[in-house]
């Protein structure tokens, strides 16, 4: 880890953010039937020309395209991501409210999935070829093969409706209106969505850990260690875990970053007011400024996760010199 590497990372991140902004700018401006008209259509049945003109003026759409772009870019960096069509408040405000709820689902799910994936994967890899291993491997393949929202739907129907064990959706009971948000109540609501997200992401960690165990088992030092009569499992676990750590951190980074992908189905089905559901709704009404905001916030997330991973790598494995190209 050194300054120049960090600088490189920052430049990359900056470029990525600019590209995301540029794509959105291009889409908004290329859109046939410009979005002011569309916006007004939602309110009036017609878009009166004088009103459209006034709005174009307010949004600066009557200026040269390059000037618009520069303004847009600057606005994006200033956190001024425009107004959502549906909520009619600044996009960043809407996203800010939702982000925390997505994290409430995502963090426990990811942590649990990582721990469980490492545990089950290590066991499976250690007992490679055994019945348990085969059974575990196959069930993971099956879980991975089921379309995610399908799984979410089934979990909702079975556990919430038929077995009546959990709430059908939302994140708090109506009682919260009077007594305030009770963490236990939220936890009760979060069980099913977290379970679903957990199932989505446990397979990745499992695969990684298992194949790391298998790879490690073939290494010479393991054979040597075994010959010396040391505890095979312990050595395996130690080395396999070490080997798996780097890709694991990358994997978790990507999982966090791709949070919208998984949560879009889960949150919609469980009426959980996070970023995923916001995406779903923005899509339904083609709320482009909001979609743009979601893309940007997700890009920022990837950037943050990458930098976090860079910082974590050396902690996990001191041999790794991040940014060392040689």
């Amino acid at each position: 880890m050194n300054g120049i590497y960090l600088l490189k990372r920052l430049i990359t991140s900056f470029a990525a953010f600019c590209i995301a902004v540029t794509i959105m700018f291009a889409l908004l401006r290329l859109m046939p039937g410009d979005y002011i008209t569309m916006y007004l259509e939602a309110i009036y049945r017609y878009a009166p020309p004088d009103v459209v003109e006034a709005f174009n003026h307010v949004y600066g759409l009557d200026r040269p395209i390059l000037e618009q772009y520069v303004i847009y870019l600057l606005d994006a960096f200033r956190g001024n991501w425009g107004y959502s069509f549906i909520y009619k408040v600044p996009v960043l405000t809407v996203i800010g409210e939702r982000l925390v709820w997505t994290l409430i689902l995502l963090l426990p799910a990811t942590i649990l999935a990582t721990l469980a994936g490492i545990g089950i994967g290590a066991y499976s890899g250690w007992r490679r070829g055994s019945k348990t291993d085969i059974a575990l491997l196959n069930s993971m393949i099956i879980i991975r093969a089921i379309p995610s929202y399908w799984l979410a739907l089934m979990i909702l129907i079975i556990f919430a409706y038929y077995l009546n064990l959990f709430p059908l959706g939302g994140y708090v009971d109506t009682g919260a209106l009077t007594t305030g948000i009770d963490p236990l109540d939220v936890a009760n609501h979060a069980v099913l969505p977290v379970l679903t997200l957990f199932l989505f992401s446990v397979t990745g960690t499992y695969y990684l850990m298992r194949s790391s165990m298998l790879m490690t088992a073939g290494e010479d030092y393991i054979t040597t260690a075994r010959a010396k009569g040391l505890d095979e499992l312990m050595i395996l676990r130690k080395h396999a875990l070490k080997n798996a750590m780097l890709p694991m951190v990358t994997l978790i980074t990507f999982e966090c970053a791709g949070m919208i992908t998984g949560s879009i189905f889960v949150e919609t089905i469980f009426s959980w007011p996070g970023l995923g559901m916001l995406t779903y709704k923005a899509l339904a009404v083609r709320d482009l400024p909001l979609l743009q905001g979601i893309l940007l916030i997700d890009t920022l997330f990837v950037i943050a996760a990458n930098i976090a991973a860079d910082l974590i790598y050396p902690l996990v494995d001191p041999r790794v010199q991040v940014g060392d190209d040689a």
């Binding site: 859109m31 046939p32 039937g33 979005y35 008209t37 569309m38 007004l40 259509e41 309110i43 009036y44 049945r45 017609y46 009166p48 020309p49 009103v51 003109e53 006034a54 709005f55 003026h57 307010v58 949004y59 425009g82 107004y83 549906i86 909520y87 009619k88 408040v89 409210e97 939702r98 709820w101 909702l156 919430a160 409706y161 009546n164 709430p167 059908l168 959706g169 939302g170 994140y171 708090v172 109506t174 009682g175 919260a176 209106l177 009077t178 948000i181 919609t268 089905i269 009426s271 007011p273 559901m277 779903y280 709704k281 009404v285 083609r286 482009l288």
Partner: protein, 604 residues
């Protein structure tokens, strides 16, 4: 746990009712004669029952007492489809002025849902009554005298004038910052000045003759009046963080948990009829199915989907215990096959007329299911527009393929056959092909696809017109699409079909081109005349004439209108059907619902 509790209560009630030998109707505890009102005598009997025999539990007795004394009781949970229906925790005034379906704010007047075949009715809200000068240049509103804002400040005519001025000043498009522009300011465009002779009288002086001013004010749920004492100092409505939401309505703002719940509580000082429920909680379920599951499980008391429940789901709920269904005739959307009058072949009026006989409404309705009613009137729905519908234009578009073929032939179209399939050749000798864009306003419940499926059978299979469906185009490009294609579908909420004034939908100018690119000089002139005509007879005459032009020109073919379905817990609250069907702005809806089960009191 709750389920068992409900069972217990139900069993108790049943035993009780049997013991009292009262006609077995599920109703309010203590209400022995079944009129849904607990009279003083009944309450007294109930108290005695409770004291001596313990037949009624303390909770039930409390419910009976609240009902008898008209004190708000219990919590009503309403499911909504989308968090935009929740009351936001912050600023409440949006670019429209105020969100629709508000229980908190009131306007001067609101419009009642018309009874089938009946005339238009308005309901005074903050205005007790109103009158206009003969030339409709001056409108005077007499305000209710006992109204007060939720924070106790008395409501006066100054608030009304303030609202007008606020809209006028913030309707300025040059106002700094996005979102500062209040779109509804257009509604006051025609107002020259507002005068307040006293605290309870407001006089609007118009710029030009405005016979329909109350109608304009009642658009949607009605234009809300803002509290002058709060909004006086706020320059930018979009950036103001309002957490109090002070209005004059029957309910005052309670609290919000963003994205999922919001609550209003009964306002004891309300100037009209006080609500019977103490709290109305709105709970967000994104998914209609989740709403239905929640209603069945008893998590919510009222569901309505987004445009009313889907008819089939309403049908399936009918037999569920403790659940009632309300159907509002033509309360949903009305659908039409619309022509773009300047795109070939829709440029040919005979072609449009011919096709008006080639829409199998019965079959479309059969596909759509329960609650779809075929309509053959011009644009206005008889169920809503009542006597404004010109009887002469009724039944002009009957389904008759032979007639369609005849008219097409007369217009120079030639029906031939190719590879065993009919092919229609246009006057130019080329096969006729029509592109139909999907999505847009008719895509609710896939109605557009259902209409296409039926049209394909007739237009393609019998008349030889090739139909090309576009992929589901999104709303942003839909407008462009319909401008380029001869035929599209439209679906509009009922209120667009309830009044002759809505026929301006077909007028060209002053708003520019209409959806149909329809441009008929006589028609345009008549609309302008209608807008400034106050005399009801004269208005009716013009309205009839307008409809005749439309029937002749066929800029669109009406297909069907849909009833709206809503479902509720009939075992917990009573008075649903009357409230829902009785119409009026939604503001009164939840004031009339009465709790019927002690359970709703325990929730709060």
């Amino acid at each position: 746990m709750t389920g068992r509790y409900i069972q217990k209560i139900l069993v108790c009630c049943a035993v009780l009712l049997l013991a009292c030998c009262v006609p077995a109707a599920a109703g309010i505890p203590g209400d022995t004669d079944g009129d849904t009102v607990v009279s003083e005598k009944e309450l007294a009997t109930a108290i005695l029952d409770h004291l001596t025999a313990g037949r009624l539990s303390a909770d039930e007795l409390s419910l009976a007492a609240h009902n008898s004394l008209h004190l708000p009781y219990g919590q009503l949970v309403v499911a909504v489809a989308g968090d935009r229906y929740l009351i936001p925790a912050t600023s409440y005034i949006d670019q429209k002025g105020v969100p629709a379906d508000s229980l908190i704010y009131e306007g001067l007047v609101t419009k009642l849902r018309p009874k089938e075949g009946g005339p238009k009715e308005y309901l005074g809200w903050l205005a007790e009554r109103w009158e206009s000068s003969d030339d409709a240049m001056t409108w005077t509103f007499y305000l209710v005298r006992n109204a007060a804002w939720h924070d106790g400040t008395p409501f006066t005519s100054a608030d009304v004038r303030f609202t007008y001025e606020y809209f006028r000043d913030h309707g300025n498009p040059d106002a700094p910052g996005a979102g500062a522009y209040l779109v509804n300011s257009a509604i006051f465009k025609n107002v020259a000045s507002v005068e307040c002779p006293d605290d309870y009288t407001v006089v609007f002086h118009m710029k030009s003759c405005a016979p329909l001013f109350p109608e304009t004010l009642a658009t949607g749920p009605g234009i809300a009046v803002f509290p002058a004492h709060i909004w006086r100092d706020i320059d930018l409505p979009s950036t103001y963080i309002d957490t109090a939401h002070i209005g004059t309505g029957p309910f005052a703002y309670g609290s919000t948990i963003p994205g999922t719940l919001s609550k209003v509580t009964a306002y004891e000082g309300y100037h009209g009829e006080k609500p019977y429920v103490r709290e109305v909680v709105t709970k967000n379920y994104e998914d209609e199915d989740a709403q239905i599951l929640a209603l069945r499980r008893g998590d919510v008391d009222f569901i309505s989907g987004e445009f009313g429940l889907s008819p089939r789901k309403a049908e399936a709920l009918k037999d569920a215990p403790g659940i009632g269904i309300c159907r509002i005739p033509s309360g949903g959307q009305a659908f039409e096959v619309a022509f773009t009058s300047d795109v070939y072949p829709a440029t040919i009026p005979e072609f449009r007329r011919a096709l008006s006989h080639a829409v199998n409404r019965e079959r479309v309705c059969w596909l759509v299911g329960e609650g779809a009613r075929p309509t053959e009137t011009v644009f206005l729905l008889p169920a809503l527009a009542g006597d404004q519908v010109n009887p002469a234009t009724n039944g002009l578009f009957s389904y008759d393929i032979a007639e369609a073929k005849r008219q097409l032939a007369r217009a120079g179209f030639n029906l031939t056959e190719e590879n065993g399939r009919p092919v229609l050749l246009g006057p130019d000798g080329k096969p006729v092909e029509i592109t139909i864009p999907l999505a847009g306003k008719a895509s609710t419940n896939a109605v557009d696809q259902k209409i296409v499926a039926v049209l394909k059978e007739d237009w393609e299979g019998k008349l030889g017109i090739r139909i090309v469906e576009t992929p589901q185009v999104d709303d942003s490009v839909y407008l462009d699409w319909i401008a380029k294609t001869a035929v599209h579908f439209d679906g509009m909420p009922g209120r667009w079909h309830e009044d002759i004034d809505r026929l301006d939908n077909f007028q060209r100018s002053p708003l520019g081109e209409n959806y149909y690119h329809f441009d008929n000089e006589t028609f345009n002139g008549l609309i302008t005349e209608l807008k400034s005509t106050a005399d009801p007879d004269k208005r009716e005459e013009i309205g009839f004439e307008l409809q005749e032009i439309l029937a002749e020109e066929v800029p669109c073919i009406p297909v069907f209108s849909q009833d709206a379905f809503m479902a509720y817990r009939s075992d917990r609250f009573v008075g649903w059907d009357a409230a829902l069907l009785g119409g009026g702005g939604n503001i009164r809806l939840f004031s009339e619902i009465r709790p019927a089960s002690a359970e709703v009191g325990l929730r709060a």
